[in-house]
Structure formats: structure tokens, C-alpha cells
């Protein structure tokens, strides 16, 4: 679709190793994400997908290797700095302040309340139901609504690159379709690059341009998302 635009590199990982304490979860991993594409990174639990996102965001520090955003090294940068330079993050574990209102959850994504109105309007275009429920406590939302709130929060600052961690987990197909639509709209309208970490291969292959499978902290297989991908990826994912 956007072949001309998608030759430039947005995010480049070169020989990255990272993990917790003595344990290396990501091992010598190299990966290149092009500007404006949706890239699906798949793999089973414990294969290092979340750790990879956290490493990019600076929440887990890379032990070796190089990570570049728009050609500039971001190794050692703080999450704060990365978010400032246009990275959005939709985490998977404990992703919401469940005791805070929807509005406060969204407010925490931006730096100044002056930008609140415009940012809210932007996310309402994708998820209009939020408009009337800003005062509602986030923890009282249904599972699907919570996921949409998590994604909305990542979109508040109109980032150029969004890191999304298993947004489809435990959701009904109708909700997944809504989320897929929002992601594709962001990509088409704003040229947003999206790195999607997923276990749901139907959803991932529907929205993604390219994919890779992560196994034990290394890239096991990768390809362009096409008709043959499904069987190939399933072989990696199923038990």
C-alpha cells in the first residue's frame, strides 16, 4: 500500500541483549522497523516480547547492542525522553490506574492540561464511547473498554511510533475489529509506525504489513504478512 514511504527506517535494533539481573531475556537481537508500517512481533509467553518493548522504551536497560530511533541512538534514554520524542506505549501488565477516572488516566499521558481538549478529541474519533464517560472510574470498565482506554492513552500525544503489548488478549472478535480499525486509521491518516506484540495471529496478520516470531529472545522466523503466513506462524505459536 505505502511502499514508497516504507523504505525509510523508523526503529533499528542491532545486536541487542537485555534482561533482568543475571538473566538475559533478549539475546543479540536485530530488527528493523520501517517508517509507517505496522509490524507484528509474535511469540509465546516468556519468549521476551514484553521485555523487548521495555528495552526500547528504556524501562529495562540494554546490556549491549544499539537501538536507534530515526537514526539517533536511544540507548540509555529515559522513558520520559522517549515519550517526548514521539513514542507511545500501551503496556500489558497492570496497564491502568484502576482507581482513577478515565479522564485522569488520559491526563497522565500528557504533560500539560492545556493540551487536554485537543488530545481528547483525537482519541474520541477512534473511541467515541469515552466522551460521555470521562468521570467513570477506569477499573469499572469492561475488559474490552479498558483495552481501548489503554490504546487511547497511547494515542493522546499523537506519537510517530506506538509500542503495543498484547492489546487483543482476552477480547471478543468485535472489540478486536474495533481496535484493528483504529490502528489502521492511525497508520493511514498520520503515517504512524506501529510495533505490535501479539499472540493472536489472526488479528496480528490482519493488520500488520510484516511479522516476525520471537523465540527464547531471538528472531526465529519472519516475513511479509500474506495469505501463506498464517499456517507458517501457527506452527511456531501452537503448543
Amino acid at each position: 500500500m505505502f511502499d514508497t514511504a516504507k523504505t525509510e527506517t523508523k526503529l533499528e535494533l542491532d545486536g541487542v541483549t537485555s534482561g533482568y539481573g543475571p538473566i538475559a531475556i533478549i539475546k543479540d537481537l536485530s530488527l528493523s522497523i520501517r517508517k509507517g508500517e505496522i509490524f507484528a512481533l509474535m511469540g509465546k509467553n516468556g519468549m521476551g516480547k514484553t521485555t523487548l518493548l521495555k528495552t526500547i522504551l528504556g524501562l529495562v536497560s540494554a546490556r549491549s547492542g544499539e537501538i536507534q530511533l530515526d537514526g539517533r541512538s536511544i540507548v540509555g534514554a529515559s522513558p520520559k525522553a522517549l515519550i517526548k520524542s514521539g513514542v507511545g506505549y500501551a503496556p500489558q501488565e497492570q496497564p491502568l490506574f484502576t482507581d482513577l477516572s478515565i479522564q485522569d488516566n488520559l491526563r497522565l499521558a500528557i504533560r500539560s492540561d492545556r493540551d487536554l481538549g485537543a488530545a481528547l478529541e483525537h482519541v474520541f474519533t477512534h473511541f467515541p464511547f469515552l466522551r460521555d464517560r470521562l468521570a467513570q472510574q477506569a477499573g469499572t470498565l469492561s475488559g474490552g473498554e479498558q483495552k481501548m482506554l489503554i490504546l487511547s492513552r497511547a494515542l493522546m500525544l499523537k506519537p510517530d511510533l506506538i509500542l503495543i503489548d498484547e492489546i487483543s488478549e482476552g477480547l471478543q472478535p468485535t472489540v478486536i475489529a474495533q481496535i484493528a480499525k483504529a490502528l489502521q486509521a492511525e497508520q493511514a491518516e498520520n503515517g504512524t509506525t506501529i510495533l505490535l506484540v501479539e499472540q493472536n495471529l489472526n488479528f496480528a496478520l490482519d493488520v500488520a504489513d510484516r511479522w516476525a516470531v520471537l523465540k527464547l529472545g531471538e528472531i526465529d522466523d519472519s516475513g511479509i504478512a500474506d495469505a501463506d503466513s498464517r499456517e507458517r506462524v501457527l506452527e511456531h505459536l501452537k503448543i
Binding site: 516468556g46 519468549m47 488478549e169 482476552g170 495471529l201 503448543i239
Partner: protein, 598 residues
């Protein structure tokens, strides 16, 4: 039956040499306290008598805080109770050799009883470390206030004076305190190096692991608190006799904090450090308080803060770091002798399944994480628990080792319903649990870790550090396969991640369980290490009849070693069958391609 696997003649020599050094040091110290009064001024004798009694207290603080990790401000109160028991008895009832002996008994017994109560309050299943600290603050406050409100019985705010105690002079009390200090120090030094003394450090390092090795850590901590309260009471008895006066300040938490300051400055976890810290600082305080009263306290306070931030283990640790050998480096070959011991079969065999789960349920509030799980596991089976994220696998493992976790249904292990049981009781039924992140004791050696796993089966010595290590053959085999048998006296913190995983497995096997639970045992391991672990697990189940339940994401590994696979999805058990049945099932394909609810 005993079959020596590694011989280390140097080991027993080293032990003997250490004992000799300790003996010589003790004799020198004894000589110092016996002949010291001949060379010291009256002032110094007086102050040092007190300082040495305080040093006994510092040792008790060190055992609790430095070794076991329990930050306490309450030792002063036990000391005060001992002192007051003595003074009150001698004041109100009279003074005779019998009554003085009675005072000694009471000065120890009353604090022991109070220590048991304080321990019982502080340590229960699920208690937090800060709670023990809270209690250690409340207790001295209560004691102090009771003394204030005691009227003539306790002397209220002016304390008690004018009773006659032991008929010793100034020098006599100096010698008595000195000898007591040497004895307590020596006893503490021998105890902390003994096999049971290492349990304190194990609790400090990783209390959860201790519980999962079948040790009742709460009871150990209560007993420790009670015994050390008795020692503090003894110090109180000495103090009441030597000083001839007791005051409410002797029981206050502020004095309790001073003890902690001395212990910290001397070096927590070293026994000798706190002794020197207490004697040195108290003596200097008394000597300098005339000339620079406030400045001196300022210097101590500043040193204390700087020390806590930059040198948390105190001066003694710095010295021992410069001089120590053995610890702190990988030692090949040395260590105790491995002795293979026939399995004890301490767990009763029963007919029927080893594990039987019936309609297990777990919910957090309205959210059901597990529902309607029914499953039997027989000896010799290796059951892999698989399923996507959030399926409830780890929650289920937790329910199996903690009887307070489940919200419904019945879990029976070897026929016994585990409802309400705490981990160490479940371990006693023959369950061993290996955690996802290797759960070992970082500051112990490999051999000491393994000995901890045996501590619930054979009571370790309070005096000796054994130079053999008896383990069941299966555990020894794991050590040999992974090369850990050559690293027995290496400190665990120096091991690689894979070695720690193997060590934990060996510790769990050394418990001689009937069933092992393993949560992702191969996470972060190299391919070779995985193969080794797989081989061990297969052998444990196929040949030795262990049952094993495994949570694992590495498909090849699961396929290779499982005898059965159980699939969880959204908190329910959706499939239970042989490897082939599960791998080729359509349900599994649907689940893993992100399909609909099953």
C-alpha cells in the same frame, strides 16, 4: 552405605585452625578482663564494666538484625526488665544468696516469657518485616510507661537504688562482666558458624525459600527472640548488680536505637564488630562527654548516617573484605565431603493419586482466575501445564503450595486436604517447589544451601559445622551432572544463572519430595543447560517415581519430556491428554491462533 565422593583433607584442618584461633583469642580476652583492672583507672573500670554489659546487648541485636534481618529497637526493654526484676526483688523482698540466685533466674525467665509473647505478636504467617519493627518500638514504650506508673513498686521516674546485690567490688564486677561478655561472644561466634546458625542468614536472604524447604521460619524467629530476650535479661541482671541503680531510661526505645547504632558502626553480621562498636563508642562517649558533650554525639550521628549509606555492613565488614579468603571467590574442589544417603521415605505412601484436585476455584473479587479445575496426578507422571498468558497456570501452582490461596474446591495431596495449610506444612506432605526465578540463598555457600534443604529432616547442630554433607543419590547426581559438586564451598552469589537454577533443583530434590512443582525451570538457560534439566526431570519421574508438574513455554522441551499435557485457557481446564493428543487437537489450534472463547 556411605560413599565418599569428594575428599578434602584441607577442610578439617581449616576447621581445626579456626577453632584454635578462636580459643587463643578467647584466652587473650579472658586475660585482659581478669588482669585489666590492675592497669586501669577507677573511672575506666567503672565505664568499661557498663560498656561490656552493653556489648552483650549489641550481640543480641546483631544476631537479630545483622544475621536474621529483623530490625529491632526492643532489646533495651528486655534488658530493662531483667534489671528491674533484679532490683525489685532485692529491694522489696530482701537480699540473700538464695534471693540473688532467684533474681538471676527471674531476670532471665521473665524476659524469655515476654520475648515469646513479643515474638508471637511479631511473627506470623504473612507478617511483614516492618511490623516486627513496629512491635519492637511499642514494647519498650509499654514497659517504660508501666515503670513510670508503678509508684514505689518500680520507683517510678527516679528508678531504684540502694538495694544490695552481689557482694563484689568495682574490680569484681569488671571481671564478672568481662567474663560474661567473653562467654556470650564465644557462644555467639560458635553458634553463627554452626549448621543451625546458618539458618538465620538463610532466613535473612530468602525467607520464602526457607518455608518451601519445610522450615517453620516463624517459630524459629519466635524462639530466637525469646532466647535473646533471656540473654538481654542476663545483661540486665549484671547491670543492676554492677551499677546499683536502675532507671526507666534503661528500658527505653531510645536506648534500643543506640544499640542499633553501635551494631551498625561496628559492622552488622560480624558479632565481633558490634562488641567493639559498643565498647568503643560507649567508652569514648563517657570519656569525651566532659569536654565535647554535644559535638561527640554529632560525630557519632554523622558517622552512623554515612556508614548506613555507603558502608552498610560497617567497619568490620571492610576489614574482613580486605582480609578474607575462601568466600568471595570461586573455590573449586574444596568443601564438605558429599555422602550419599539412602532415601528416608519420610513421607508416608498412600494408595490412590498423589495429587487430586477437585473443582478448584480462585477468584480475585468478582474476577474468576480459575474455575472448575479437576485433575489427578499419579506417581511417575510428568504433567506439563500449558496455555496462553493469563490462563491461570501460575495461580494454580500457588494454590497447590499454599492452602490459603484457593477460593473453592478441594486439593488433596497424598490424600490430605490442604485447605488452610501454610507452605511448610504442605512441604511436609512431600511437595517440593521450584520457582521461576532461582530461589536460593545468595550469601550462603552451595553446600550450606543444600544443608538447609535437609534441615527439616535432620536437626542441624548448634555447635558444629559438619564436614560431611549427606544427600540422597538423586540430588548428588544433579550436582555431578551440573558440576556443582566441585563448587560446594563457593558462595551462591558468584554462580551463573544456570548454576543457580540447577542448585535450586538439587535443593528441592534433597528434600526428598514425592511431587515436584516447577515454574518455568528453563527460563533464561542455554540449550545445553535445558537438555541437562530435561534429562534430570525425566529420570526423576521415570526411574525414581517422582510426580512432577511443570509450567513451561518452550514447546520442544514440553514435547520431549512430558508424559501428559494439561491445557488451561481463561481459567478453565480445556484439555488433558497425551502429548500427541494435545499437540494435534483442534481446540489447541484455535486457542493459539487467537480464536474465540472455547
Amino acid at each position: 552405605m556411605s560413599d565418599a565422593l569428594a575428599i578434602s583433607p584441607s577442610r578439617s584442618n581449616a576447621v581445626r585452625r579456626r577453632a584454635a584461633i578462636l580459643g587463643v583469642l578467647a584466652l587473650v580476652a579472658l586475660a585482659l578482663v581478669i588482669f585489666g583492672p590492675m592497669f586501669l583507672s577507677r573511672f575506666s573500670i567503672n565505664v568499661l564494666t557498663r560498656s561490656m554489659i552493653y556489648a552483650i546487648l549489641a550481640i543480641t541485636v546483631d544476631l537479630l538484625w545483622g544475621f536474621t534481618g529483623i530490625l529491632t529497637f526492643g532489646q533495651a526493654a528486655f534488658f530493662g526488665v531483667g534489671a528491674y526484676a533484679t532490683a525489685m526483688l532485692l529491694t522489696h523482698i530482701g537480699s540473700s544468696p538464695t534471693l540473688i540466685s532467684l533474681a538471676l533466674v527471674l531476670a532471665i525467665l521473665v524476659p524469655v516469657v515476654l520475648g515469646t509473647i513479643v515474638g508471637w505478636l511479631s511473627f506470623y504467617y504473612g507478617s511483614t518485616p516492618i511490623y516486627a519493627t513496629v512491635i519492637s518500638l511499642v514494647f519498650p514504650i509499654v514497659v517504660t510507661q508501666l515503670i513510670y506508673s508503678g509508684g514505689t513498686l518500680t520507683g517510678s521516674s527516679s528508678g531504684m537504688v540502694g538495694y544490695s546485690g552481689l557482694p563484689f567490688g568495682l574490680e569484681g564486677f569488671f571481671r564478672l562482666s568481662g567474663i560474661s561478655l567473653v562467654v556470650v561472644t564465644l557462644g555467639a561466634l560458635i553458634f553463627v558458624r554452626s549448621d543451625s546458625g546458618r539458618i538465620l542468614t538463610a532466613i535473612r536472604d530468602n525467607e520464602t525459600r526457607c518455608a518451601y524447604l519445610g522450615l517453620n521460619t516463624q517459630r524459629i524467629k519466635i524462639m530466637l527472640t525469646a532466647v535473646l530476650a533471656g540473654v538481654a535479661g542476663l545483661a540486665g541482671f549484671l547491670y543492676a548488680n554492677a551499677s546499683g541503680v536502675v532507671a526507666p531510661e534503661n528500658t527505653s526505645f531510645v536506648f534500643g536505637t543506640e544499640l542499633v547504632v553501635w551494631t551498625a558502626l561496628g559492622g552488622r553480621g560480624t558479632i565481633l564488630g558490634p562488641v567493639l562498636g559498643a565498647v568503643g563508642i560507649d567508652y569514648l562517649s563517657a570519656s569525651l562527654s566532659g569536654e565535647l558533650p554535644f559535638l561527640w554525639q554529632l560525630v557519632v550521628g554523622t558517622l552512623f548516617v554515612v556508614m548506613i549509606i555507603f558502608l552498610p555492613n560497617g567497619l568490620a565488614a571492610l576489614v574482613s573484605r580486605l582480609t578474607r579468603r575462601g568466600r568471595g571467590e570461586v573455590v573449586a574442589g574444596a568443601g564438605p565431603e558429599l555422602v550419599s544417603e539412602a532415601p528416608r521415605h519420610h513421607v508416608k505412601m498412600v494408595d490412590g493419586p498423589l495429587l487430586s484436585i477437585d473443582k478448584l476455584e480462585k477468584s480475585y473479587g468478582s474476577q474468576k482466575v480459575l474455575a472448575d479445575i479437576t485433575l489427578d496426578v499419579a506417581p511417575g507422571e510428568l504433567v506439563s501445564l500449558v496455555g496462553p498468558n493469563g490462563a491461570g497456570k501460575t495461580t494454580m501452582m500457588r494454590c497447590l503450595t499454599d492452602g490459603k490461596e484457593s477460593s473453592g474446591g478441594v486439593i488433596r495431596i497424598a490424600g490430605k486436604n490442604i485447605a488452610g495449610m501454610v507452605p511448610n506444612q504442605i512441604v511436609a506432605l512431600g511437595v517440593g517447589r521450584k520457582f521461576q526465578v532461582a530461589s536460593v540463598f545468595e550469601s550462603l555457600t552451595v553446600a550450606e544451601c543444600l544443608r538447609m534443604a535437609r534441615a527439616s529432616l535432620e536437626a542441624p547442630s548448634f555447635v558444629a559445622a559438619s564436614d560431611t554433607l549427606s544427600l540422597p543419590p538423586a540430588a548428588i547426581e544433579i550436582l555431578q551432572l551440573t558440576g556443582l559438586d566441585q563448587l560446594l564451598s563457593t558462595e551462591v552469589s558468584l554462580l551463573s544463572h544456570g548454576q543457580k537454577q540447577s542448585l535450586e533443583l538439587a535443593m528441592v530434590v534433597a528434600l526428598e519430595p514425592r511431587m515436584i512443582l516447577l515454574d518455568e525451570p528453563t527460563a533464561g538457560l542455554t540449550k545445553a543447560e535445558r537438555t541437562t534439566i530435561g534429562t534430570i526431570l525425566k529420570k526423576l519421574t521415570n526411574e525414581l517415581g517422582f510426580a512432577a508438574i511443570l509450567v513451561e513455554h518452550d514447546l520442544d522441551f514440553v514435547r520431549d519430556i512430558s508424559s501428559r499435557i494439561v491445557v488451561l485457557h481463561q481459567g478453565r481446564l480445556v484439555l488433558d491428554g497425551s502429548v500427541d493428543e494435545v499437540v494435534n487437537s483442534d481446540i489447541v489450534k484455535t486457542i493459539y491462533s487467537g480464536g474465540d472463547h472455547v
